[in-house]
């Protein structure tokens, strides 16, 4: 119990949404690579775990979007995460994060080419990942067309963040599906 108190300063504790799970998350992070991660984080050491370790977590290893998730939350954009990134990720994916925050990060996850729009190719990649390439290309094309037709409000042929958020507001399930229990 004494050890746990010295991992984070009170200031650091304040910033997180998963406050009650903070220590648990730290120990999960440390378990991925015990030799790299020190026990004492008060002097903010600079430790980054490579994507392969993050992607091997049981909560993520079979998720088709795990690479995008790691890329979106990592500082360098390649999936290598510091403890802050790791906590950020599980904080946003927790049940307490507000809807707009989740929608923002979900948009970034589905935006495969990082151009701040979900265009047709992003959609095609998403649908293929969702269905493990079991739909025919014709069906995939139809689905993407209909999705853009339904969700694109300003008629520019692709979904911006606002279009995506507007659609998420109409989906009450989003809060419960965009959630990883840890």
């Amino acid at each position: 119990m004494g050890n746990k108190q010295t991992i984070f300063t009170p200031e650091q504790l304040d910033a997180y949404q998963v406050q009650n799970k903070l220590n648990g998350l730290f120990y999960r992070y440390r378990d991925l690579a015990p030799q790299l991660v020190p026990l004492d984080y008060t002097d903010k050491p600079d430790v980054t775990l490579p994507y392969e370790l993050i992607g091997s977590m049981p909560e993520l290893k079979d998720n088709p979007f795990r690479q995008r998730i790691a890329e979106v939350f990592s500082e360098d954009g390649d999936g290598n995460m510091t403890l802050d990134d790791f906590l950020d990720m599980f904080s946003v994916l927790s049940e307490m994060a507000p809807r707009d925050l989740k929608a923002y990060y979900a948009f970034k996850i589905y935006d495969f080419n990082n151009d701040d729009y979900i265009c047709k190719s992003d959609l095609e990649k998403t649908v293929n990942k969702l269905t493990r390439n079991e739909l025919t290309p014709e069906e995939v094309r139809l689905v993407c067309e209909k999705v853009i037709y339904e969700a694109d409000l300003d008629n520019d042929g692709k979904l911006s963040l606002e279009d995506f958020q507007h659609m998420i507001i109409r989906a009450p399930d989003f809060l419960s599906t965009f959630h990883i229990r840890i």
């Binding site: 910033a15 079979d62 088709p64 701040d116 269905t131 689905v143 300003d154 692709k158």
Partner: protein, 800 residues
Amino acid sequence: MSQPPPFTLHVSEDTESDNQELSPDNEGALHTSFRQLIQEQSSLAEAGTELELQERGRGHPAHLAPPDASASAWLEPGQGEQHPGDSTTLRILASMPSRTIGRSRGAIISQYYNRTARLRRRSSRPSLQQLSRAARPSLRQYDLETDPARATLEDKRSLLAKELLSLSPSQRSHMLLSVPLSLAEKRALRRELNEQRSPLGLRAHHAAAPSPCGWSKDYVALGCRHLWYRLLALLPAAQPWHYALKQIGGRFGSSVLSYFLFLKTLLMFNVFSFLILLVFVVALQAAYPPAKANQQSFTGFELLTGAGYFTHSLLYYGYYGNITLNDPSASSLSGSVAAPAAPPLPYNMPLAYLFTVGVSFFATCILLVYSMYHSFGESYRVGSSAGDLAIKVFCAWDFKVIQRRSVKLQCENICTQLKELLAERRSRSCPLSLCQRLGRVAVLLLAWVLSLSTVLGCVVAVHYFSEHMHAVQQEHRALAGSSWQREGILLVLPLTVSLLNTLMPHLYNLLATWERQDSPEVEVYVAICRNLLLKMVVLGLLCYQWLSRRVVCSYEECWETCVGQDLYRFMVMDFVFTLLDTIFGELVWRLISEKRLKSKQRPEFDIARNVLELIYGQTLTWLGVLFAPLLSAVQVLKLLLLFYIKKTSLMQNCQAPSKPWQASRMRTVFITLLCFPSFLGTAVFISYTIWSVKPSETCGPFQGLETIYKSVNVWAKLLEKSSPNITWLTWLHQYLVENTFFLFFLSGVLLAVTYFNIQVVRGQQRIICLLKEQIANEGEDKIFLIHKLHSICKQKERCA
């Protein structure tokens, strides 16, 4: 403002490294560089070609892909070929404010600064004259003097911190939670907030405090939340079954998880109600047992029948006395010489009983309505229901599912659902002919007539069966048969009702497969409707029989205990049949399909049926609380056992449901069903019992009174006599509770509030339509301007 060479360098950095975060200096330059950019590009044609090659490599497919039907309006015919004007447009598009919003920290901070400023203005209501009249109405909202777009990152942060300080603490923490910045940035922001707060705090102290109550309330709320989090971290027991729920969610997804969460909610309700009854009624009666000792001995059969040893125990109404416990006048009458060690506290048992039951019902009602309101708010959406496909693509993937096999199953499910949706769209475009439609209507009507007639048949059967069982009971009583036989006969009616409740849903499933509804969701709703109708009508008949006492408990002296025992038996039989249903429906089916049929197909977990069983069990508990105060404890035990049994059976025998389930909407449906037919019916039953039914003469806390409610009248008269100053209490009692005018007034107010809310929702729908049109118009504006830019660039190219 900026010299050409470094300006160009900044721009090329931007298009090369999209992922890196830009410094706000670059941003400001991009925003204001429209005209300069066009001028620069006309002299930098080679740099443009290089960059456009890079851009093609990076792939901005939105511009290079073959145009969509909707986007073709703005792409010129020859857009596929590369020429310098195209790269100009691309660069300009890259620098539009809407593009930079999600990209860099500075942009996010400015956006949230604007949002916070808008919040502050909305709360302080600025006058209309202050807003500048610009052509674009959206610009009026921006504080053009302190435009944060030009500031540095630190300045932006301090601006945002200053705006945040003007909000209330709860709004501030909510805003901080929802800002999509990394944690390091949030920490810097909080540091800024703390720095700014200390000098400002002194100033605010000197100025008039705006509303001390409101702000302290927020601080209290925040403090409570912090305390709750610390507590949760220390006590893993505060979140029971956390790992089990994670396992279930990981293998079966959110829909099956919603059943277990509903079970947990019911458990909390029952624990709460049990604790209230325990503290105020049961414990005190246990401390002062009645003079008559329990003559019967305990045999195991009591657990099933609730009679025998349990008849004269704390479990039932008959045990509770109608006297004032620990009455000082009574003890002085008995002539005890020694003075009591503690001061005697008289406790009026009948009043305590009535009020505790009333309070527990009232508290349950409030909790139910609150959770219904909460889940309704989350799941009901104003606006059109179109957009199913988009929602399916983006929200259907359940991130909670982590097992490999379940992930594969989920992929298959989503694939099937997408195919179904596409087929539905195709079929919608070619509607059915008149003949086919008539056929469908005929099939639906027939199915409903069949189900309603089965309900009627079941009710009539239960009625005649209970009369028959009553006659058999009389025979056995006359013959003075063994107590085993007598009590065994009592079990037959609950057994029959539970059998009906278990078998009829399977019949309705068969009916549904024959009916073949269009959408699976409608199928689920129809199944729930039919099952619920059956259960509630049968329960209604039983309630009528209990209260009229023509058939059930007609020869009992202590009829309340008899009714309590009957309800106990119903609950136990319900549990036994749920167990049998789980064993036969899931375990045996899986064994048969694996060993005999050699198929990998496992039985599915039928969520609707299981939830309805839970609701039925809870209704029985609520019906019985007045007659058997410890029934909540029995229900708590039952729910605990049920959780583990269902979980084990689920893990061993079942597979995830293949039908699409909107878990959040279903949660609303479950809570609404729990509230409306179940709780409301129970409340009506209990109110009728308290207000109009004569309690038994020889047992219970209300013996000798006309109705149970008369005890309150007696008490009110007693109060009036003892201290004539409390006339307001009797006035309250007479005009608010006895008089029906108050109830009508309350219902009138409720109707008015409902009408008001409906009108508000209608207004919001209209506003949404108008806003959608506005957004479409803005989009067209944008396309028009881009088009014009294109032509200008091309003209420059031609002239140059």
